[in-house]
Symmetry: none
Subunit: 209 residues, 4 copies
């Protein structure tokens, strides 16, 4: 009966994941000891090494989970040819949803990757640049379609958009705020979109005879 085994394995892995997520959120990657994680997962620390090769590997596995979801979303966004506003809204929603459901995950993304040179192995930097690059392509398409103003580099607009989004999320992370209801989420998304788009959108020359 191989199935029960599999279940056990997955469950244990999941427990370690959860414990690592929580602990790293609280203490940061560097100050997190393997034994902290093990203790929280109620296992011996040796077992962590049975499932993950090393602290770094565990960390990478954690990040992979984040990237996986994000890249999948971006892929969907690009395939579905929604209007620009909707595409950007999807990205914003993904961050806010993740923050709501797995605040630790987005916390780690923000604190350990997005702004930390320290833990940035070449591999991780690569993923991050890929993320920036894909988002830039979305923006570029917006410019091509005439939905976004084209007098600034796509990279610049991308920076402004992602910067705004990230700051919202990281401010909440820093303040340990919770997204109470969906209304708040909608309001935040609305703010970002409104402010970003009404500026970034191609300006109509309103002159009429």
């Amino acid at each position: 009966m191989p199935i029960p085994r599999e279940i056990t394995r997955k469950e244990k892995e999941e427990a370690i994941f959860a414990a690592a997520l929580q602990t790293i959120k609280e203490k940061g990657f560097h100050k997190t000891r393997i034994s902290d994680i093990a203790q929280r997962a109620r296992i011996s620390y040796g077992l962590v090494y049975h499932y993950f090769g090393s602290k770094e590997d565990l960390f990478d596995a954690l990040l992979d989970r984040w990237w996986e979801g994000l890249f999948e979303l971006l892929s969907c966004v690009r395939e579905a040819h929604d209007p620009m506003r909707e595409r950007l809204a999807s990205i914003i929603r993904y961050f806010l949803d993740t923050y709501q459901e797995k605040p630790e995950l987005i916390n780690i993304f923000i604190t350990e990757i997005s702004r930390s040179t320290t833990n940035l192995t070449p591999n991780r930097l690569e993923k991050f640049k890929e993320f920036l690059s894909i988002t830039e392509q979305v923006v570029q398409e917006g410019q091509d379609e005439g939905a976004l103003r084209a007098d600034f580099k796509a990279r610049y607009l991308t920076n402004i958009f992602l910067g705004a989004l990230e700051t919202f999320v990281s401010t909440m992370v820093l303040a340990d705020q919770h997204l109470k209801d969906n209304a708040q989420k909608r309001r935040i998304a609305e703010s970002i979109l409104e402010v970003f788009l009404n500026g970034a959108r191609q300006q109509l020359t309103t002159a009429k005879p």
Copy 2:
């Protein structure tokens, strides 16, 4: 002759500062060893403890220097009652100027403070919140004056503004880009302001006959 002594002391401190700045930029706070700093400053590592009490203290002194300049600028901005656009431009310029002149300092601000929960002692978090709060007041004043749209919380607009700014800078930090000329600096500042303001600015209902 007490004066030469004073000079020696200040010079030594400065040397340690510079060495710390550079090293932390390269390796991150956590991976920076006191001996690394001492070596770069060409002094013995014991001496670091003569000037600064501990690694943490040295780090705090570093940050203080950053906060000092930033708060001074913000104070100037609030006193001079320039138009909104000019006030925001001052803030942007301060970040870009500092990045140009002391890239290590802004790097450390970005990577070790702005987005890192890890090193965030209550003290440091306080400073950071103060910074957010002052900027928010500037924005609030803009809303009060009618220069910025008031249908969003001042905090939200602040997030978007600082987020955009920070992302520009941190992207450059990550990529180890240099600000080649003042023209590029002006272009970046312009982008941020343009996009932010044309969205954040109170919308004129285009009068129709």
Copy 3:
């Protein structure tokens, strides 16, 4: 059907033996992990404990196999009352043959027992001393028979004989040399015997008229 079971057991044991031999040769006893052995034997590491009680036990079993063959040979040598040269030749041949057929076994004898105090449990030391002692008896008999000079202790002559033999073998072990053909084997045996005997043999006072 008890026979297939027996066969399986023996085969498994043999597989573990072979894997252990090979691995210990490559990495040394200490650096060899049980899991290395298991992997090479294509079994789970838990099973090793089913057949052998512990790592030490497995090692002892390995050595026993070596000692068994060696003591059997020495017993034969002593029973057959061959001339001295032939007896010593038998011993040399045994080492060279074993080196040719089971280089790992002799390698382990040389590196882990013959010259290593580290792994020398009292038990193992005992076996080793027994080996020395029996060889010394052979030499002693040679002295008694007048085949070997008696002006040095039997122990001394034994040291010289075994030392020469062992160094040949261990030099080959170190250099990972292979005994290509029987001719080379014969040449080596010849060298040792020639040099040892023409010195160790009782000197004839060349009668002069």
Copy 4:
């Protein structure tokens, strides 16, 4: 006053050396813990890392000391054009003297280098081969001069000579025997030389008309 410092440093290093030597002799390199050494030297284990970079480095420093003395001796032997017997006697005396004065050092040479593949880094193997090679040259010169029989490879004779010598020493090491007096030392040296030379020496065809 830099001199006292130097003395302290050297003394400490010496103390660590002695402690390491003794401990490795007793437990073998692998089973020796840094803390064992530190404890015996009556210092904290951290200090070992202050003087030697790592366990391996300390081990290498130990070996270097051995090689240094040995190579120096071999160099002397080759320069002084003594008769063959005297040259070989010098080598034997060096081993026996070292064994008498620093039994731990020769113990480590025998157990951890001469016969152990395990700790043999390429670097260390190189030194060992160099030693073999130089000794072989001495033997070769003996053959060229007609002092040693030339019907066997120099390498073979070298093996026999060094093997005999090494076995004497290592047997004493194993048995933890002490060289009581110089007489015993002389007797051992005599045995080795006698047996080796009377065989290895070019045979005189005694035929006289």
